[in-house]
Amino acid sequence: MIRLVNYTALDESAHERLLAIRNSPDIRRHAHTREPIGWEEHLKWVESLRDNEGRGYYAVMVDGTVVGGVHWSDSEPGKIVWGIFFVPEASAWMIAATAIAFIDTLFERSPRCTLVSSVHAENLGAIRFNRQLGFKKCAETADFWTMELDEAGWRSQKEGKILRTIIQNPANPPVQMEP
Protein backbone atom coordinates (compact mmCIF):
# COMPACT_ATOMS: atom_id res chain seq x y z
CA MET A 1 0.00 0.00 0.00
CA ILE A 2 1.27 3.44 -0.96
CA ARG A 3 -0.09 6.29 1.16
CA LEU A 4 -0.17 9.93 0.09
CA VAL A 5 -0.16 11.94 3.31
CA ASN A 6 -0.72 15.67 3.44
CA TYR A 7 2.42 17.55 4.47
CA THR A 8 0.41 19.25 7.22
CA ALA A 9 -0.29 15.86 8.83
CA LEU A 10 3.31 14.61 8.96
CA ASP A 11 5.26 14.21 12.20
CA GLU A 12 8.69 15.73 12.73
CA SER A 13 10.71 12.69 11.66
CA ALA A 14 8.69 12.42 8.44
CA HIS A 15 9.40 16.10 7.75
CA GLU A 16 13.11 15.54 8.35
CA ARG A 17 13.12 12.66 5.89
CA LEU A 18 11.06 14.63 3.36
CA LEU A 19 13.34 17.63 3.55
CA ALA A 20 16.44 15.44 3.24
CA ILE A 21 15.04 13.94 0.03
CA ARG A 22 14.05 17.36 -1.30
CA ASN A 23 17.54 18.73 -0.53
CA SER A 24 19.43 15.80 -2.05
CA PRO A 25 21.60 16.79 -5.04
CA ASP A 26 19.68 14.40 -7.32
CA ILE A 27 16.44 16.29 -6.72
CA ARG A 28 17.83 19.82 -6.49
CA ARG A 29 19.76 19.50 -9.75
CA HIS A 30 16.53 19.60 -11.74
CA ALA A 31 14.39 21.76 -9.44
CA HIS A 32 13.37 25.37 -9.92
CA THR A 33 14.94 26.20 -6.54
CA ARG A 34 18.40 24.68 -6.51
CA GLU A 35 19.50 25.95 -3.11
CA PRO A 36 18.93 23.65 -0.10
CA ILE A 37 15.85 24.53 1.93
CA GLY A 38 16.44 25.15 5.65
CA TRP A 39 14.49 23.41 8.42
CA GLU A 40 12.75 26.52 9.74
CA GLU A 41 11.97 27.73 6.26
CA HIS A 42 10.44 24.34 5.46
CA LEU A 43 8.22 24.32 8.58
CA LYS A 44 7.08 27.87 7.96
CA TRP A 45 6.17 26.99 4.40
CA VAL A 46 4.26 23.87 5.53
CA GLU A 47 2.25 26.07 7.90
CA SER A 48 1.28 28.22 4.93
CA LEU A 49 -0.33 25.13 3.36
CA ARG A 50 -2.95 24.83 6.10
CA ASP A 51 -6.43 25.82 4.94
CA ASN A 52 -5.00 26.64 1.54
CA GLU A 53 -7.43 25.37 -1.07
CA GLY A 54 -5.23 26.38 -3.97
CA ARG A 55 -2.60 23.69 -3.50
CA GLY A 56 -1.98 20.28 -2.03
CA TYR A 57 1.34 18.71 -1.06
CA TYR A 58 1.59 15.02 -0.11
CA ALA A 59 4.39 12.81 1.10
CA VAL A 60 4.53 9.40 -0.57
CA MET A 61 4.82 6.84 2.23
CA VAL A 62 5.52 3.12 2.02
CA ASP A 63 5.63 1.04 5.19
CA GLY A 64 5.60 4.25 7.21
CA THR A 65 8.64 5.72 5.47
CA VAL A 66 8.65 8.80 3.27
CA VAL A 67 9.98 7.85 -0.17
CA GLY A 68 8.96 10.93 -2.15
CA GLY A 69 6.37 13.60 -2.69
CA VAL A 70 3.63 14.73 -5.05
CA HIS A 71 1.91 18.07 -5.29
CA TRP A 72 -0.59 20.14 -7.20
CA SER A 73 -1.28 23.87 -7.22
CA ASP A 74 -3.63 26.18 -9.07
CA SER A 75 -1.55 28.30 -11.41
CA GLU A 76 -4.11 30.12 -13.54
CA PRO A 77 -7.81 29.46 -14.25
CA GLY A 78 -8.24 26.00 -15.73
CA LYS A 79 -4.64 24.96 -15.15
CA ILE A 80 -3.13 22.87 -12.37
CA VAL A 81 0.61 22.48 -12.00
CA TRP A 82 1.67 19.11 -10.63
CA GLY A 83 4.98 17.56 -9.67
CA ILE A 84 6.44 14.34 -8.33
CA PHE A 85 9.78 13.29 -6.85
CA PHE A 86 11.19 10.13 -5.30
CA VAL A 87 14.28 8.84 -3.61
CA PRO A 88 16.63 7.40 -6.23
CA GLU A 89 16.14 3.85 -4.94
CA ALA A 90 12.33 4.00 -5.24
CA SER A 91 10.92 1.15 -7.29
CA ALA A 92 9.57 1.87 -10.75
CA TRP A 93 6.27 0.24 -9.70
CA MET A 94 5.98 2.69 -6.84
CA ILE A 95 6.62 5.68 -9.10
CA ALA A 96 4.26 4.47 -11.83
CA ALA A 97 1.41 3.60 -9.47
CA THR A 98 1.70 6.88 -7.58
CA ALA A 99 1.75 9.03 -10.70
CA ILE A 100 -1.22 7.26 -12.30
CA ALA A 101 -3.33 7.36 -9.12
CA PHE A 102 -2.49 11.01 -8.45
CA ILE A 103 -3.35 12.15 -11.97
CA ASP A 104 -6.57 10.13 -11.83
CA THR A 105 -7.49 11.94 -8.61
CA LEU A 106 -6.72 15.37 -10.06
CA PHE A 107 -8.89 14.76 -13.12
CA GLU A 108 -11.68 13.29 -10.99
CA ARG A 109 -11.72 16.50 -8.98
CA SER A 110 -11.24 18.87 -11.90
CA PRO A 111 -12.14 17.09 -15.14
CA ARG A 112 -12.02 20.24 -17.23
CA CYS A 113 -8.58 21.35 -16.09
CA THR A 114 -5.29 21.05 -17.93
CA LEU A 115 -2.42 19.55 -15.96
CA VAL A 116 0.91 21.29 -16.37
CA SER A 117 4.40 19.84 -15.82
CA SER A 118 7.47 22.00 -15.60
CA VAL A 119 10.41 19.76 -16.42
CA HIS A 120 14.11 20.62 -16.51
CA ALA A 121 15.29 20.44 -20.12
CA GLU A 122 18.24 18.23 -19.10
CA ASN A 123 16.11 15.82 -17.11
CA LEU A 124 15.57 13.38 -19.96
CA GLY A 125 14.13 10.70 -17.68
CA ALA A 126 11.44 13.07 -16.44
CA ILE A 127 10.66 14.22 -19.98
CA ARG A 128 10.23 10.58 -21.08
CA PHE A 129 8.14 9.88 -17.98
CA ASN A 130 5.82 12.82 -18.71
CA ARG A 131 5.52 11.78 -22.34
CA GLN A 132 4.46 8.28 -21.31
CA LEU A 133 1.79 9.88 -19.14
CA GLY A 134 0.56 11.72 -22.22
CA PHE A 135 2.01 15.18 -21.57
CA LYS A 136 3.03 17.19 -24.61
CA LYS A 137 5.51 20.04 -24.75
CA CYS A 138 3.79 23.38 -25.25
CA ALA A 139 6.54 25.86 -24.34
CA GLU A 140 10.19 25.97 -23.36
CA THR A 141 12.75 28.30 -21.87
CA ALA A 142 16.51 27.79 -21.75
CA ASP A 143 16.14 25.56 -18.68
CA PHE A 144 12.61 24.22 -18.51
CA TRP A 145 9.98 22.60 -20.66
CA THR A 146 6.30 23.22 -19.99
CA MET A 147 4.25 20.13 -20.80
CA GLU A 148 0.47 19.81 -20.68
CA LEU A 149 -2.17 17.10 -20.48
CA ASP A 150 -5.95 17.40 -20.55
CA GLU A 151 -8.53 14.86 -19.41
CA ALA A 152 -9.27 13.56 -22.93
CA GLY A 153 -5.54 13.06 -23.49
CA TRP A 154 -5.27 11.20 -20.19
CA ARG A 155 -8.16 8.87 -21.03
CA SER A 156 -6.63 8.17 -24.42
CA GLN A 157 -3.18 7.54 -22.91
CA LYS A 158 -4.61 5.11 -20.40
CA GLU A 159 -5.95 3.05 -23.28
CA GLY A 160 -2.45 2.77 -24.76
CA LYS A 161 -0.32 -0.33 -24.27
CA ILE A 162 2.02 1.01 -21.59
CA LEU A 163 -0.43 2.48 -19.09
CA ARG A 164 -3.04 -0.21 -19.77
CA THR A 165 -0.50 -2.94 -19.01
CA ILE A 166 0.40 -1.26 -15.72
CA ILE A 167 -3.17 -0.50 -14.61
CA GLN A 168 -4.44 -3.99 -15.37
CA ASN A 169 -1.51 -5.80 -13.74
CA PRO A 170 -2.38 -7.37 -10.38
CA ALA A 171 1.06 -6.35 -9.07
CA ASN A 172 0.13 -2.67 -9.45
CA PRO A 173 0.24 -1.47 -5.83
CA PRO A 174 -2.84 0.30 -4.42
CA VAL A 175 -2.51 4.00 -3.62
CA GLN A 176 -4.47 5.69 -0.85
CA MET A 177 -4.68 9.47 -0.71
CA GLU A 178 -5.29 10.85 2.77
CA PRO A 179 -6.78 14.30 3.34
Partner: protein, 96 residues
Protein backbone atom coordinates in the same frame (compact mmCIF):
# COMPACT_ATOMS: atom_id res chain seq x y z
CA UNK B 1 22.85 -17.08 -21.81
CA UNK B 2 19.54 -18.71 -22.63
CA UNK B 3 18.65 -17.76 -26.21
CA UNK B 4 14.94 -18.22 -25.52
CA UNK B 5 15.08 -15.64 -22.75
CA UNK B 6 16.89 -13.17 -24.98
CA UNK B 7 14.29 -13.75 -27.71
CA UNK B 8 11.52 -13.06 -25.20
CA UNK B 9 13.10 -9.77 -24.12
CA UNK B 10 13.70 -8.70 -27.72
CA UNK B 11 10.09 -9.52 -28.62
CA UNK B 12 8.77 -7.58 -25.63
CA UNK B 13 11.00 -4.62 -26.51
CA UNK B 14 9.73 -4.69 -30.10
CA UNK B 15 6.12 -4.61 -28.84
CA UNK B 16 6.91 -1.81 -26.44
CA UNK B 17 8.72 0.19 -29.06
CA UNK B 18 5.62 0.20 -31.27
CA UNK B 19 4.40 2.78 -28.78
CA UNK B 20 7.69 4.32 -27.64
CA UNK B 21 9.26 4.78 -31.05
CA UNK B 22 12.63 4.98 -29.33
CA UNK B 23 15.59 4.75 -31.78
CA UNK B 24 17.80 3.05 -29.17
CA UNK B 25 15.34 0.14 -29.04
CA UNK B 26 14.94 -0.41 -32.77
CA UNK B 27 17.71 -3.02 -32.97
CA UNK B 28 18.33 -4.17 -29.40
CA UNK B 29 21.37 -6.24 -28.44
CA UNK B 30 22.33 -7.83 -25.10
CA UNK B 31 24.17 -4.60 -24.32
CA UNK B 32 21.21 -2.31 -24.96
CA UNK B 33 20.73 -0.10 -21.90
CA UNK B 34 17.25 -0.31 -20.47
CA UNK B 35 16.85 1.57 -17.19
CA UNK B 36 18.96 3.95 -15.15
CA UNK B 37 21.85 6.00 -16.48
CA UNK B 38 21.76 6.02 -20.26
CA UNK B 39 18.75 3.72 -20.35
CA UNK B 40 16.01 4.13 -22.94
CA UNK B 41 13.13 3.43 -20.55
CA UNK B 42 11.39 5.55 -17.92
CA UNK B 43 9.65 4.00 -14.89
CA UNK B 44 6.36 3.56 -16.73
CA UNK B 45 7.76 1.81 -19.79
CA UNK B 46 9.99 -0.37 -17.59
CA UNK B 47 6.99 -1.59 -15.61
CA UNK B 48 5.10 -2.28 -18.83
CA UNK B 49 8.09 -4.19 -20.26
CA UNK B 50 8.40 -6.29 -17.14
CA UNK B 51 4.74 -7.23 -17.11
CA UNK B 52 5.01 -8.27 -20.75
CA UNK B 53 8.20 -10.27 -20.20
CA UNK B 54 6.66 -12.09 -17.21
CA UNK B 55 3.75 -13.16 -19.39
CA UNK B 56 6.00 -14.31 -22.23
CA UNK B 57 8.25 -16.24 -19.82
CA UNK B 58 5.22 -18.09 -18.52
CA UNK B 59 4.11 -18.95 -22.05
CA UNK B 60 7.59 -20.24 -22.96
CA UNK B 61 8.60 -22.05 -19.74
CA UNK B 62 5.33 -22.69 -17.93
CA UNK B 63 6.78 -20.99 -14.86
CA UNK B 64 5.75 -17.78 -13.15
CA UNK B 65 8.61 -15.39 -12.44
CA UNK B 66 8.02 -12.22 -10.45
CA UNK B 67 10.33 -9.63 -11.91
CA UNK B 68 8.38 -6.75 -10.41
CA UNK B 69 9.79 -7.29 -6.96
CA UNK B 70 10.40 -4.02 -5.10
CA UNK B 71 14.02 -4.87 -4.42
CA UNK B 72 14.71 -5.82 -8.01
CA UNK B 73 13.02 -2.68 -9.27
CA UNK B 74 15.51 -0.46 -7.45
CA UNK B 75 16.93 2.16 -9.76
CA UNK B 76 20.49 2.00 -8.49
CA UNK B 77 21.16 -1.69 -8.01
CA UNK B 78 18.99 -3.13 -10.68
CA UNK B 79 18.80 -6.20 -12.91
CA UNK B 80 17.06 -3.94 -15.39
CA UNK B 81 20.20 -2.03 -16.34
CA UNK B 82 20.46 -3.70 -19.75
CA UNK B 83 19.13 -6.65 -21.74
CA UNK B 84 21.96 -8.94 -20.60
CA UNK B 85 21.43 -8.30 -16.88
CA UNK B 86 17.69 -8.77 -17.27
CA UNK B 87 18.18 -12.08 -19.11
CA UNK B 88 20.60 -13.29 -16.43
CA UNK B 89 18.12 -12.32 -13.72
CA UNK B 90 15.29 -14.22 -15.42
CA UNK B 91 17.54 -17.25 -15.88
CA UNK B 92 18.44 -17.14 -12.19
CA UNK B 93 14.78 -16.98 -11.17
CA UNK B 94 13.86 -19.85 -13.50
CA UNK B 95 16.65 -22.01 -12.10
CA UNK B 96 16.09 -20.96 -8.50
Amino acid sequence: MNDTILSIIFAALADLNDELDEPALEHPTPQTRLFGNGGALDSLSLVSLIADVEEKVFEAFGKTVLLADDKAMSQRVSPFRDVETLAAYIEKLLNG
